[in-house]
């Protein structure tokens, strides 16, 4: 998995996965920027089913422009949304 760094442009994978998922649908396929690395944690999508969640996954805080997320968003261009997204839900922007 590509390690990301603050400032990197990323896209949330527009993938479907059944069961417990920590990437909200409204961000799938949306582009943002890595804001910071939050750390490494057992994968909660496996822990939810009684598995160990190992190896740990890197968790990133990703920042999105609100005006990129919603049609007709009310508010200035600077309004942001931050979400915490695991590495396996992120890809470098531009990659398909």
């Amino acid at each position: 998995m590509t390690p990301f760094h603050p400032g990197d442009r990323v896209r949330v994978r527009p993938a479907e996965k059944p069961g417990h998922v920590r990437a909200p649908d409204y961000l799938k396929g949306r582009s943002g920027w890595i804001s910071c690395v939050l750390g490494h944690f057992p994968n909660p999508e496996d822990v939810a089913y009684g598995l160990s969640g190992m190896p740990e996954k890197t968790l990133y805080r990703v920042s999105f422009r609100q005006s990129n997320l919603w049609d007709g968003y009310e508010g200035p261009d600077g309004d942001r949304l931050y979400a915490d997204v695991y590495e396996h839900w992120l890809e470098p922007e531009g990659e398909r």
């Binding site: 909200p24 968003y73 942001r80």
Partner: protein
Amino acid sequence: MSEVHPHEEVRPERSPYAARIRAMEALLVEKSVLTEAEIQDRIEYMDSRTPANGAKLVARAWTDPDFKERLLSDAKSAARELGLDATHEAELIVVENTPVVHNLIVCTLCSCYPRAVLGRPPDWYKSFEYRSRAVREPRAVMREFGFEPEEGIEVAVHDSTADARYMVLPMRPEGTKNMDEEELAALLTRDALIGVSAPQAPSRAS
């Protein structure tokens, strides 16, 4: 269930979910996975955590710049300094309101909330309406709470989608220069620590 709790008054079951939880609780006790005392301890522990804890942290940060720095860089250990145990949270992150940005907390996936410092989330925080609208129209949601960020302030919404829990460090209101920590803490409401509102200085009518 009456065999399992012979000395306990029957609690009113308000919904099928409550009935189900009571049944699970009875089974766990019956199978010796948990004891009634452990359940009671846990409830008391949860009840002991209230927004007053978060207010204490903020009031200290307002009066002690070094503490504020520690609160923003490592909230868990800053909480420990005030005797607050936040070790149950995966990560605890405090986000600071400034003259350029106002922060708002939500969890769109479920109801993730900084319980160690604010206790249990209010029902509206867990409602589908808040969870869906706080990300999509945060400014309209804040207006409904009677709050509007000043012109030029950007809004940053934090969706607690994974292992971090967020609390807001509001700006200290004007006109509170002579207040001590305890008086400052009294200005802080749970809503201000979630970010749907902001603390106000008491009016100087008296």
